[in-house]
């Protein structure tokens, strides 16, 4: 690979690459994102490869993402798209490949049955599908289109153009100003203004000369979110470009990509991207002939949610256990090795090149005042269209979950949405309609709105947070006490254990909730739990403990009735909490296959084959195995 010497060289290369493209060349893109992989995308890709090789037709199997990262519409995996025919096939199985190759690649016709259909309508291309139509893909534009392992693909798609612009046309101060004016806020959860953070670090570095560091936070510990993963795996160059631009503005010469080790593919794609960028002269000494030096290094997280916290990342990079320390001093004042350090989420970094390219004014035009730009959400749980969506901020919760997400299958409305992961809260369906009078918003904006808007400030109003972008939709079969318990258990396991309120408080809160889930406790205990939660909010050392009570506090706030149902009536309305339910076999439905009796670990299901089976309630441990194996859904919760 030849080094690019200057910005003119970058343009020439891009031109040459684009001209070398044959627009007639058919390209097959197989989604190898985690969702599709779990459905056997690997086999589909392999089938394409061998079918094309055997037939010797002119097609290049270009998997859109080699390995993972995703096209967004995971519920319809495996996704295959063909260009230039602009066809979009869903639920592709390895058996379908031969037909696609024969029909679409060779004869140029469409395989109708593999098109996405909804409510009787068939959609030929992705852009027409309602799920995609309502989105505005900026950060995810290239994800699913380019080959992340080939820098040429990224260059053709406009990669590193912003860098070239910044290095030749803008001073570091201008870059800083642009980020400030754009109103970009951190996508890692806190929503801290990025420009302000950078400014502080730059000022500190000026007062106290020496090295400055930039770090991309790719820890993404929120269980149920995979936005950052898809960026890192699908378009690593965007993150790298953003970091070089940031480093230029801050005068940093060294940066770190901190990626969680559960994402081996992201690490792999980054390492290849870094090598290719270095070979192209886009990273390292004298970038694009500008005299500016900057290099990046990958560090793998070692498995700790708390290592998403900035000071814990720093501890980790310095080779210590990931215990957060108190802030201030903030990393922008004293970070890695005691030097000013800017830590941003990978999505935040990926925003930077776009802002530089199109300007701060364009960016503030997206979203709403005080929450500009777009945000990626991973929409999962009990919702029809699960997957990754990118929407402008300020979209209503209803439009997101019911519009793009398609609502809850088989139910008229969702029960609640859990946002922000373990640090976030539970927003009930009713709030979708209630409007919050948030003073940050201009009057007319509020007046026009009926539903809660998905932006940093409105979400905070409900007691939840927008967080990294995980959105878990719950329906009537999900118990809020159980969900609150789930998050507490998660956090208890992940707490670093340094400070007392967090280490012991989470355990204590869990003890309360465990009692509730068994139908024990008193209504006063709910108040005690709230007050203990407040003690954690006030007393904890880092953001983990300070935000940890959120799922509990919001669920008490909006679903106190459900708590009371557990404690007073000893009932779990959703039918989840084990000690408050029993499993029963519906005599009408049971076909007497006996599978449940075979699988029951306690052997407490009795009956005769072809006749009715019954569950012995005394011995039943309510493991739910019978319900899982029953082919006719005869096992019901009472």
């Amino acid at each position: 690979m030849k080094k690019i010497k200057n910005t003119a060289g970058l343009q020439t290369l891009r031109q040459t690459l684009l001209e070398a493209q044959d627009p007639e060349m058919p390209v097959v893109r197989v989604c190898l994102g985690p969702g599709c992989l779990a459905l056997g995308a690997e086999k589909v890709a392999r089938a394409f490869k061998s079918a094309v090789r055997n037939k010797k037709i002119k097609a290049r199997v270009q998997p859109l993402i080699k390995g993972t990262g995703c096209h967004g519409f995971c519920s319809q995996g495996t996704l295959v798209s063909l260009s230039p025919a602009n066809l979009f096939y869903v639920r592709v199985k390895p058996e379908d490949v031969a037909e696609i190759v024969a029909t679409s690649l060779e004869q140029g016709r469409t395989v109708e049955r593999l098109l996405y259909s909804d409510n009787g309508a068939r959609y030929r291309s992705a852009a027409e599908i309602p799920f995609y139509r309502a989105q505005q893909k900026i950060i995810l534009k290239n994800v699913g289109i380019i080959d992340p392992l080939d820098i040429n693909d990224a260059l053709m798609a406009g990669g590193y153009q912003s860098l070239a612009k910044v290095l030749t046309e803008m001073s570091p101060e201008e870059v800083l100003k642009t980020v400030e004016v754009s109103g970009l806020r951190g996508r890692g959860g806190g929503g801290f203004p990025t420009g302000y953070k950078w400014r502080r670090a730059a000022d500190n570095a000026r007062e106290n000369p020496g090295p400055v560091y930039v770090i991309a936070n790719g820890e993404e510990g929120d269980p149920g979110a995979f936005m950052d993963r898809s960026i890192m795996e699908g378009d690593p160059h965007k993150v790298i470009e953003g970091m070089i631009i940031g480093a230029y503005a801050l005068g940093a010469n060294q940066g770190y990509l901190f990626v969680r080790h559960e994402y081996p593919l992201a690490i792999h794609h980054f390492s290849i991207a870094l090598r290719q960028a270095r070979n192209r002269g886009l990273l390292g000494k004298n970038i694009l002939g500008s005299g500016f030096d900057f290099d990046l290094q990958i560090n793998r997280g070692a498995g700790a949610y708390v290592c998403g916290e900035e000071t814990a990342i720093i501890a980790s990079l310095e080779g210590r256990a990931g215990e957060p320390r108190t802030r201030p001093p903030y990393p922008a004042q004293e970070g890695l090795w005691g030097r000013p350090t800017v830590i941003n989420n990978v999505e935040t970094w990926a925003n930077v090149p776009h802002i530089m390219e199109k300007g701060a004014d364009w960016y503030t035009g997206l979203g709403v005042p005080h929450s500009t730009g777009t945000k990626i959400f991973s929409l999962v749980g009990k919702v029809k269209n699960t997957g990754l969506v990118e929407v402008p901020m300020g979209i209503s919760l209803g439009a997101l979950v019911e519009g793009i997400g398609g609502g809850v299958p088989g139910q008229t409305h969702f029960k609640a949405v859990q946002t922000g992961g373990p640090s976030g809260g539970i927003i009930p369906y009713e709030l979708k309609e209630i409007f919050t009078d948030y003073h940050y918003h201009p009057e007319e904006f509020i007046a026009a709105k009926k539903e809660i808007s998905v932006d940093f400030d409105s979400m905070a109003q409900t007691g939840s947070i927008m967080g990294g972008g995980g959105m878990i939709v719950m329906d009537d079969h999900d118990c809020v006490v159980d969900v609150a318990r789930y998050f507490l258990r998660f956090l208890e396991e992940e707490s670093c254990g340094k400070c007392l309120p967090c280490r012991l408080g989470l355990k204590g809160m869990l003890e309360f909730l465990n009692r509730f889930a068994r139908g024990q406790g008193s209504p006063e205990d709910i108040d005690a739990l709230e007050s203990l939660g407040q003690a954690l909010v006030d007393g904890s050392l880092c953001g983990l403990g300070r935000a940890a009570p959120n799922p509990v506090l919001t669920s008490i706030r909006f679903f106190r009735d459900e708590y009371l149902a557990h404690i007073v009536d000893h009932k779990c309305p959703a039918g989840v909490c084990r000690d408050l339910i029993s499993y029963q076999i519906d005599p009408e439905t049971c076909n007497g296959c006996g599978l449940c009796a075979q699988e029951c670990p306690e052997a407490c299901i009795t009956g005769k084959k072809k006749k009715l089976f019954t569950i012995g309630q005394e011995a039943c441990i309510r493991c739910g195995v019978c319900q899982d194996v029953c082919p006719v859904q005869a096992v019901q919760v009472a």
Binding site: A38, A45, G303, G319, A321, G387, E599, D628
Partner: protein, 170 residues
């Protein structure tokens, strides 16, 4: 998984290169990749964990010597992070996802079923050293919940019966 994908695309040579890089045969070649500085402690531990499946006392001592930290610090690091194991792990790793979505869709039941089936608790290894059972928090395939990872493969919409089959197959 990256490796299996390279396999699909027939990039065997590349695969071997990666294999060589991440799975060196002995400790010395791992240590060679790292300058003798304390900040490389975690990186070395990760490579040793990947190569040997666990970190033995002898290795820990040599690592400390190399990067220049007291064993006490390495101990606190190795026990703090979840990805390190100080005891040998099984041949196959089974990771039941207990991320939020998988939890809602019955991941906990799956984990319990695995415990019963394998006769071990999560975090443990079977007596014949064949399987290690762990839980993870979201593997990013939430759309296919509940998900179980067996070695490098994702099993989407997993059920107790599909898991049992999978255990037998290995």
């Amino acid at each position: 998984m990256a490796l299996s994908l390279l396999l699909i695309y027939g990039e065997k040579s590349k695969m071997r290169e990666i294999l060589m890089k991440t799975r060196p045969q002995d400790l010395d070649s791992i240590l060679e990749n790292y300058p003798r500085r304390p900040q490389h402690l975690i990186g070395v531990l990760q490579d040793v964990q990947a190569a040997f499946n666990y970190i033995s006392p002898e290795h820990l001592a040599r690592i400390c010597d190399h990067v220049g930290v007291p064993v006490t610090q390495a101990w606190s690091v190795a026990t703090f992070y979840k990805s390190f194991s100080l005891e040998p792990r099984g041949e196959h790793s089974i990771k039941v996802c207990l991320g939020t979505t998988c939890h809602l869709k019955g991941g906990e039941r799956l984990a319990e079923a695995c415990e019963r089936d394998l006769g071990i608790e999560r975090g443990q290894t079977t007596a014949d050293q064949r399987f290690s059972l762990d839980t993870v928090k979201c593997v990013g395939a939430c759309a296919e919940a509940p998900v179980v990872m067996v070695d490098e493969d994702y099993l989407g919409r997993a059920s107790i019966s599909s898991l049992k089959k999978e255990f037998k197959r290995r």
